[in-house]
C-alpha cells in the first residue's frame, strides 16, 4: 500500500472508529516518527475501549443495569447493526442527567406543580435526573413484586412486557407517571443513538450509519442538484475534525470520504 493510500485508510478507520472522549484525546501527544499514524490508530482503539468503561457520573450500578436492559429493547441490536446499548446510550443518559439537562438548568422550575392537562406539558416537580431515579426504582419494585426479580434479571420477553406496560400507562408507579418516565427514556434513547458521539452515545456512529446520515456536513452546492443519486459518505463527527482525523475545507466543512458501495437506492 502506498503511503498516501495507507494514510487515507487509517484516517478512514479512525473516522469510522468511534466516540473519542475529548479528555483522552487531549492527552495524546503526536509521535514524531513515521509510525505516528499506526500509533494514533492504536491510541484511538484504546480510547474507545476506555470510553466504553467510563465510570458513570450520575447513575448507580443498579440504574446502569436497568438502562442497559431497557434501551436494548427500545433500539435493539439486530441484523441492521448495533442497538442503543452497544451505541453507548446508557453512558449518554448518564452524562445528560449529570449536566444541565438533568438538572433543568434552562427550564422553569418554580411551583406550584399541579399535574395539568396533557396540552400543558411537563409539570413535574422532579428534574429529569430525579425522574430517572424514581422511575427506575419504582419499575424495579414493580418487577420484584410481579416477577420476583429486578428488571435487568427478567427474561427478554418479560422485559418487553414491562416496557409495553409502561408505554401504555398500564403500570401505576409510585412517584412518577409511568408514561411520563417512559416517554422521557424513549426520547433520550433516540437522542443518545443519533447525537454526535461527543456526548457519549452513537458509538462508532452506529446511529448515523444506520440511516445514512453524514454527521458534520460537507458543501453540497453541487450535489443538491444530482437528483436521485444517493450521497453515501463515511460519517464525520465533531471530534474527528477537532482531532484532525477528518479533513476539512477552508470554511471547516468536512471533506467526506465516499463509501464505495454498489448498493441500490
Amino acid at each position: 500500500m502506498k503511503e498516501s493510500g495507507r494514510r487515507n485508510f487509517l484516517k478512514s478507520a479512525a473516522a469510522l472508529g468511534a466516540a473519542i472522549p475529548a479528555g483522552a484525546a487531549a492527552q495524546s501527544k503526536p509521535a514524531p516518527h513515521a509510525d505516528h499514524e499506526k500509533q494514533h490508530a492504536q491510541h484511538m482503539r484504546a480510547a474507545t475501549a476506555a470510553a466504553q468503561q467510563r465510570p458513570n457520573m450520575f447513575l448507580s450500578q443498579t440504574e446502569v443495569a436497568f438502562l442497559d436492559a431497557a434501551v436494548s429493547h427500545l433500539i435493539p441490536k439486530d441484523e441492521l447493526g448495533p442497538g442503543a446499548k452497544e451505541a453507548g446510550v446508557t453512558s449518554f443518559i448518564d452524562q445528560q442527567l449529570f449536566g444541565g439537562y438533568g438538572t433543568m438548568a434552562k427550564k422553569y422550575t418554580q411551583g406550584p406543580w399541579p399535574e395539568g392537562t396533557p396540552q400543558q406539558g411537563y409539570q413535574s416537580p422532579l428534574t429529569p435526573a430525579a425522574v430517572y431515579r424514581a422511575g427506575i426504582r419504582d419499575t424495579n419494585n414493580y418487577c420484584l413484586k410481579t416477577y420476583g426479580k429486578s428488571f435487568d434479571a427478567l427474561s427478554r420477553a418479560q422485559q418487553d412486557e414491562v416496557l409495553k406496560a409502561l408505554d401504555g400507562g398500564k403500570i401505576e408507579l409510585e412517584q412518577v407517571r409511568a408514561q411520563f418516565f417512559f416517554n422521557m427514556l424513549l426520547a433520550n434513547t433516540v437522542e443518545g443513538f443519533f447525537a454526535d458521539p461527543v456526548y457519549g452515545g452513537n458509538r462508532a456512529k452506529a446511529g448515523w450509519k444506520l440511516v445514512g446520515f453524514p454527521g458534520v456536513a460537507a458543501v453540497y452546492t453541487t450535489f443538491i442538484e444530482k437528483h436521485g443519486v444517493p450521497y453515501r459518505a463515511q460519517p464525520v463527527s465533531i471530534a474527528d475534525i477537532t482531532q484532525k482525523v477528518a479533513q476539512v475545507d477552508e470554511h471547516g466543512h468536512a471533506i467526506h470520504v465516499m463509501l464505495d458501495d454498489k448498493a441500490g437506492v
Binding site: 427550564k107 396540552q119 400543558q120 456536513a217 453540497y220 443538491i224 450521497y231 437506492v265
Partner: protein, 586 residues
C-alpha cells in the same frame, strides 16, 4: 435603588431583527441610541464556527440559541376555565435570546403577506357576507394596505438579500414566480436557490394539475451579496444545518450578517448585553414614557431615560412589557374591552409525508426555505363559498436538512420503538419527503395574552399568561388544505403516505412553529388596536411596538418578511414625521 443614567434619544428593548434596523437607521440620522439586550453577544465567528455548529443535540434539543426559561417563561391554558401552568420547557415555539434574537436561528423564509391579508375582515364581508367567519372571530383589517407597505417590503428584501423569483412585477404576471403575490416594484435582489429533488417532483406534479409552482423566497442566499449597509452575506452551501442553527458561512440573512457589521461601527450606537428591561416608566399621566428600568448581569438596577422607547423584542415580551408598564388598556375578554393582549394568534401547520422504496432524496442536505411552493390555496386565492372557513396557506416541498434526532419520518402504524421501528427509520430517512402547509390562524375573542396571577419570573414579576386554542375555522381549513396536498402527493406515486392535518386541541408540547402573533395589534381604531398603522402606541405616543405583535391575525406564510416591512413602515414615520413633531401620528 436604580442608578439613573444620562438620557439618550432612543432606547431599543431587544436587539434582534427589528431593533437592529431601527437602531442603525436612527443612529445614522444622528440620534444617540442604546440597544438593551437581555441575552449575550453572538456573532458568526466564534459562536457559530465549525465544527461545533453542526451539533443537532445542542441546538435542536438543548436549545442553545433560545430563551432561558429558568429566568422567564409564560403560562399556558387552552381555555379560560382552566388554570394556566408554566411552559417549563420549550416545545411548540422557540423564542430566541441574545443579540440577533430569533433571526439567528430562523429558517429564512421571507414572504410578503397577500394584499388580502391586510384587509381580511372587509374583503371577507364583501365577498361572502357576515356568516363566513365564526361569530367570535375577531379578524380585522390592519389599517395599512399592501400598496402602502410595498416600498418597505422592497427595502427589507434588498437589505436581507432575499433570493427568489418575482411573480408580479408592477402588475405584470411573470412566469416562474408567484402569480398571486401583490405587485412588486422590482425583482428580488438575488436569484432563487437551486432545486432539490423533492421540490422538482412536487413542482412537476403540481404543474400537471394546473397549479403554478415557484421558488420559496428565502434569506439563505443563493450568491454572495453586498447590501446597502456594505455588509456581505455569503452564498449558501446547502449544508442542512439552518433552522435552529446559526450559519457558519454567514450565508443566512440575519442581524449578524446584514446589519450589525455596520451598526457596531456607528459611534451613536451603544449595545448593552445581558441587560434585562423590566419596565418602561411613564410620567404621572401615563401619556409619556420617560425611561426604562433594567437589571444587568451583576444584579445592578439602572434607569435609562430616553425620548423614544422602541419595544423590539419578541411578540410575547413586547406584549408583556406593555402590560407590566401600564402602556395601553389591558384586554378583558369577558367585558370585551381593552386592547393589550388582544388577538393573540398562531399558525396552523400541517403536512403530507411521502415514503418511497425506489427514490433517495439525500434528505440531510438543504437550506431553510429551499423549496418550491404553490399559492393556489392561500388567503382568498380560491373560492371559500360553502367551505365553512376563511384563510389558507402556501404549500411547499423542499429539502431543509433532515437530522435524525428530530426528523426521522416513519409510515403511520409503525411502532414507536423496537426492531420494526428501527427498520422503518433506516429505510425511510433518505427515502421520504414532506409537503408542508403553512396554514393561517384567525383571531378569536377567547385567545389572548394577559398577566398570570400565580407564577413569576426571576425578578419577581408576573409571567405572561397565554390562553389559546384552535377553533373550528382552523381545523376545517387544515383538513381541507392537507387533503389538497394529498391529492398532489398521490400523483407522485409514493409507496406510502402520511396525511397529517392539524386537528384537535392546541398543545404546547411538540414543536410546531415560532410564528406567534398579536397581543399589541395595529389598526385604524384605538378601540380594537394597541398601536396605530405606524406601530405607535395609541396611549403613549413615544413608544413604538414593533414586530409580529402587531399582526391582527396570522396569514398563511412565515411572518418575517412582513415584520421587516412593518419595521420600515414604523421607521419612515419616525424619521419623516415623528422626530420633526413628536406626538401622536394618526
Amino acid at each position: 435603588m436604580a442608578t439613573k443614567l444620562k438620557p439618550v434619544d432612543v432606547v431599543t428593548v431587544g436587539v434582534g431583527l427589528t431593533g437592529t434596523i431601527l437602531a442603525k437607521e436612527l443612529a445614522d440620522s444622528g440620534l444617540k441610541v442604546v440597544g438593551l439586550e437581555r441575552g449575550r453577544w453572538r456573532d458568526t465567528d466564534p459562536d457559530f464556527a465549525m465544527p461545533g455548529a453542526h451539533d443537532e443535540l445542542k441546538y435542536v434539543r438543548r436549545h442553545e440559541l433560545m430563551q432561558d426559561l429558568s429566568k422567564e417563561t409564560l403560562t399556558f391554558r387552552n381555555a379560560m376555565s382552566e388554570t394556566a401552568l408554566p411552559m417549563r420547557q420549550l416545545g411548540s415555539f422557540l423564542p430566541g435570546e441574545g443579540v440577533g434574537g430569533a433571526a439567528v436561528h430562523w429558517g429564512g423564509l421571507t414572504w410578503r403577506f397577500l394584499p388580502w391579508d391586510f384587509e381580511t375582515k372587509s374583503r371577507t364581508l364583501a365577498r361572502y357576507g357576515k356568516n363566513q367567519a365564526a361569530e367570535d372571530c375577531t379578524m380585522q383589517d390592519w389599517g395599512v394596505s399592501y400598496d402602502e407597505l410595498e416600498p418597505h417590503f422592497d427595502r427589507f428584501e434588498y437589505l436581507y438579500g432575499i433570493s427568489g423569483k418575482a411573480g408580479n412585477l408592477q402588475g405584470k404576471i411573470i412566469s416562474g414566480g408567484n402569480p398571486f403575490e401583490g405587485p412588486r416594484s422590482r425583482e428580488y435582489p438575488n436569484p432563487p436557490l437551486k432545486t432539490a429533488y423533492s421540490s422538482a417532483l412536487f413542482a412537476k406534479a403540481a404543474q400537471a394539475m394546473g397549479y403554478r409552482p415557484f421558488p420559496v423566497p428565502t434569506g439563505a442566499n443563493s450568491r454572495p451579496y453586498k447590501n446597502e449597509y456594505g455588509a456581505t452575506i455569503a452564498a449558501c452551501v446547502y449544508c442542512g444545518y439552518c433552522q435552529f442553527f446559526g450559519c457558519e458561512m454567514g450565508a443566512k440573512a440575519s442581524p449578524q450578517t446584514a446589519v450589525l457589521p455596520a451598526l457596531m461601527q456607528n459611534k451613536n450606537f451603544e449595545l448593552r448585553t445581558l441587560c434585562n428591561v423590566v419596565k418602561v416608566n411613564l410620567d404621572s399621566e401615563k401619556k409619556r414614557a420617560v425611561s426604562v428600568t433594567y437589571v444587568d448581569s451583576r444584579g445592578r438596577e439602572f434607569e435609562q431615560p430616553a425620548d423614544l422607547v422602541l419595544l423590539t423584542s419578541y411578540v410575547l415580551n413586547n406584549t408583556r412589557l406593555m402590560l407590566l408598564s401600564g402602556i395601553g388598556k389591558p384586554y378583558d375578554p369577558v367585558a370585551n374591552t381593552g386592547v393589550v393582549g388582544r388577538n393573540y394568534a398562531y399558525q396552523t401547520p400541517s403536512s403530507v409525508t411521502l415514503f418511497f422504496e425506489d427514490k433517495n432524496f439525500n434528505s440531510f442536505m438543504g437550506a431553510g426555505g429551499l423549496g418550491l411552493a404553490i399559492d393556489e390555496f392561500n388567503g382568498d386565492n380560491f373560492d371559500h363559498s360553502g367551505l365553512g372557513f376563511i384563510g389558507g396557506g402556501f404549500m411547499q416541498a423542499g429539502s431543509n436538512g433532515a437530522r435524525p434526532i428530530e426528523v426521522r419520518p416513519v409510515p403511520q402504524g409503525t411502532p414507536r420503538w423496537g426492531s420494526e421501528w428501527k427498520k422503518a427509520v433506516a429505510r425511510y430517512f433518505n427515502r421520504s419527503f414532506s409537503i408542508t402547509i403553512q396554514g393561517a390562524c384567525q383571531s378569536y375573542r377567547t385567545n389572548y395574552l394577559d398577566l398570570d396571577p400565580t407564577y413569576r419570573d426571576a425578578y419577581g414579576l408576573p409571567l405572561l399568561r397565554m390562553t389559546f386554542d384552535r377553533h373550528e375555522n382552523e381545523t376545517k381549513m387544515s383538513v381541507w388544505l392537507t387533503n389538497k396536498a394529498a391529492e398532489i402527493a398521490k400523483t407522485i406515486g409514493p409507496a406510502k403516505m402520511n396525511v397529517s392535518p392539524r386537528t384537535g386541541k392546541y398543545t404546547i408540547v411538540p414543536y410546531q412553529s415560532t410564528h406567534n402573533t398579536g397581543g399589541a395589534v395595529m389598526g385604524a381604531d384605538p378601540q380594537t388596536s394597541a398601536v396605530n398603522k405606524y406601530l405607535q402606541s395609541w396611549d403613549v405616543p413615544n413608544v413604538f411596538v414593533v414586530g409580529a405583535s402587531a399582526f391582527p391575525q396570522n396569514g398563511g406564510y412565515n411572518p418575517t418578511g412582513t415584520v421587516g416591512a412593518l419595521t420600515f413602515q414604523a421607521l419612515e414615520a419616525i424619521k419623516t414625521r415623528y422626530l420633526k413633531r413628536p406626538g401622536a401620528l394618526a
